[in-house]
């Protein structure tokens, strides 16, 4: 059913877009590729799931995921990440990769490796009639939640001082330093914000994919592909790349289920050959 798959693509794509947005903000301003980004996605999912199952309120779960991921982000940045801003990119990758292991294994140690199913919220249960087919209501709501989050992100990035610094810093990190802005605090907030968004994506995605310690790994790699396709350092690129990636996977799965995931990486290879800076990326931004 192609229409359902197209919608799946949007649902999946919007999650990917959100995760990729967090990734690209951190990379754009801090110059750091967060190989633990998927782990924050997972941490948010678990935090949200606990509160959701304890209180029955999905909204409370979502808020918890956001806040908890934010706090973990602050702690991690202060304790570890900030010592790496001046180190070579390979070291930054290695340490965030190590962080990924630590976060995933900590969660595994606490909760075990079992996959936990997460029921859709009460306002997201059931299916909706669209044209001549039925579609799970929650997936549509996911798109709505993501859109809302993106709107809030847009407000933060384009209407606040912090956002201005982020965007300026993405263009030219040196300028931000010279202008005497408190780089330390800004970096900390931006890192925490980026991973908080990942955590939010995690709980939102939980009713669809369930919750398990390794859930962040696939998302991590896929969000990398999204950033490559959409273009590094570009917010619109993260969103466009996410939707494109989501559609590629879903549509391919409809026609050739075996190749659904594979197609995504083929697309990445093509972008790389034909347009290395990505769809909306800025040339030479390396």
């Amino acid at each position: 059913m192609i229409e359902a798959q197209l919608l799946n693509g949007v649902a999946l794509g919007s999650i990917l877009a959100l995760v990729a947005l967090g990734l690209t903000i951190i990379f754009g301003l801090l110059g750091l590729v967060n190989f633990a980004h998927g782990a924050f996605f997972m941490v948010g999912a678990y935090a949200g799931w606990i509160v959701y199952t304890q209180t029955g309120s999905f909204v409370l779960g979502v808020a918890t995921a956001l806040v908890f991921a934010f706090i973990v982000g602050i702690v991690v940045e202060r304790v570890l990440i900030r010592f790496y801003y001046k180190r070579p990119p390979e070291d930054q990758i290695l340490v965030t990769f190590g962080l990924n292991i630590v976060l995933v294994e900590t969660v595994r140690a606490i909760f075990g490796g079992k996959t936990q199913l997460v029921p859709s919220p009460s306002w997201g249960q059931g299916a909706v009639q669209i044209a001549d087919f039925v579609y799970p209501q929650y997936r549509l709501e996911v798109v709505g939640i993501v859109a809302l989050t993106l709107a809030v992100m847009w407000l933060i990035l384009f209407k606040t001082r912090l956002g201005l610094i982020v965007r300026a810093g993405i263009d030219d990190a040196l300028i931000v330093n010279i202008l005497g802005i408190n780089v330390n605090r800004t970096f900390m907030l931006v890192f925490a914000l980026g991973v908080a968004v990942a955590g939010l994506s995690g709980i939102i995605d939980a009713p669809i994919v369930a919750v398990y310690p390794d859930m962040g790994t696939d998302i991590l790699v896929q969000s990398f592909v999204v950033v490559v396709i959409g273009g590094v350092g570009s917010f619109a690129g993260a969103i466009l790349g996410g939707i494109v990636a989501g559609e590629i996977v879903s549509v391919t799965t409809a026609f050739a289920p075996d190749y659904g995931q594979v197609m995504l990486y083929v697309a990445m290879a093509l972008v790389l050959i034909l347009r290395p800076q990505g769809l909306l990326g800025v040339e030479g931004r390396a």
């Binding site: 390979e90 190590g98 292991i101 630590v102 294994e105 659904g260 083929v266 050959i273």
Partner: protein, 330 residues
């Protein structure tokens, strides 16, 4: 002025020491209560790590997708042997290794268009591509999530007789011999003029290009060589286990070999072997202690972070740095 290899003042005693170690390894392990099989597994990963060290420790290319070659070589070798297409284990290994090298050249040609973090991200993605290819579309060849069981132990038919390495120590000897050859080859490479250029690329790739070296081609060649090492090691894994697992293609596998190389010390060639030894041995030992059995990986992950932060050179690297300082002050 006599010009020796760049960045390497050691002599042939290193090869001799490694050979001696390989002979004594099973005995050492028996003495501490670990088995020959554990030693064999460590050597297989050490071989995999030789390739990783060449690209990362000597050239500065951080690839998170080396499992693609480990798995490819492994599955092709396993398939050939299981279905009796090839009966000579060495021939099957050779084919798997060459195939892995070809994949390395193709992926390298694409991924090396980028540098630094983009390169790392791309290798990660290509690694995943291979994983999904293994699980889904190629499942009829690869057994998907079940892998390929029934991989025969190493045997070399020689007409009248057949060399059989199926015993535990026999497999060890087979793997150790190939590891030694791999080690000697890697040593020759890093001590050659080609290897000197690799080190220049590690130190300052722009200047290396600016003085007249065709850097992208050097990168592609060493990346292909690393893929070959991965493919050979993968083939040996299948033989050793009698079974080729899909996890050989996983991100975990790609990450593990990087972790081993860094813990042991990148840029030392024996670093990955030491790192593999530490990782695999500790994994076994920690899992035997009830209290921490479930968190061995967490502990090793924390150790990894500590090492990168404060002790970047790893175990072997740290020892070599100490030795250099003693020599200077002595």
């Amino acid at each position: 002025m006599k010009l020796g290899p760049v960045g390497d003042r050691s002599g042939l005693w290193v090869e001799g020491a490694v050979a001696l170690f390989l002979v004594l390894f099973p005995s050492i392990f028996a003495a501490i209560g670990a088995g020959t099989d554990l030693a064999t597994r460590i050597l297989i990963l050490g071989l995999f790590g030789l390739g990783v060290d060449l690209i990362f420790g000597f050239t500065g290319l951080l690839s998170f997708g080396q499992a693609a070659f480990f798995g490819s070589g492994g599955f092709i070798t396993a398939y050939l042997l299981i279905h009796n297409i090839v009966t000579n284990s060495l021939a099957a290994l050779a084919i798997g290794t060459i195939a892995a090298a070809i994949f390395g050249a193709v992926i390298g040609a694409l991924a090396l268009r980028q540098v630094g973090v983009y390169f790392a991200m791309l290798t990660l993605a290509f690694g995943q591509l291979f994983y999904f290819l293994d699980i889904s579309p190629l499942r009829n060849f690869t057994g998907s999530e079940n892998g390929l069981p029934g991989v025969p132990k190493p045997t070399i038919p020689l007409g009248a007789t057949t060399l059989d390495f199926s015993s535990s120590i026999g497999t060890y000897v087979f793997v150790a011999a190939l590891y030694f050859i791999g080690f000697v080859v890697a040593r020759r490479i890093v001590r050659s003029p080609f290897g000197a250029v690799l080190r220049a690329i590690l130190e300052n790739p722009q200047r290396a290009a600016a003085v007249g070296h065709r850097v992208p081609r050097y990168k592609l060649v060493v990346f292909t060589i690393a893929a070959a090492y991965g493919g050979l090691a993968g083939g040996l894994l299948g033989m050793f286990q009698g079974y080729m697992p899909p996890e050989a293609f996983s991100i975990d596998q790609s990450g593990e070999i990087i972790v081993m190389t860094v813990i042991g010390g990148s840029g030392t060639l024996i670093g990955p072997l030491v790192g593999a030894g530490v990782w695999i041995y500790l994994r076994q030992e920690l899992q035997n202690i009830d209290a921490i059995a479930g968190i061995w990986k967490l502990i090793l992950g924390l150790v990894f972070i500590l090492l990168i932060t404060g002790f970047r050179r790893g175990i072997v690297g740290g020892i070599m740095a100490l030795a250099r300082r003693w020599r200077r002050e002595g």
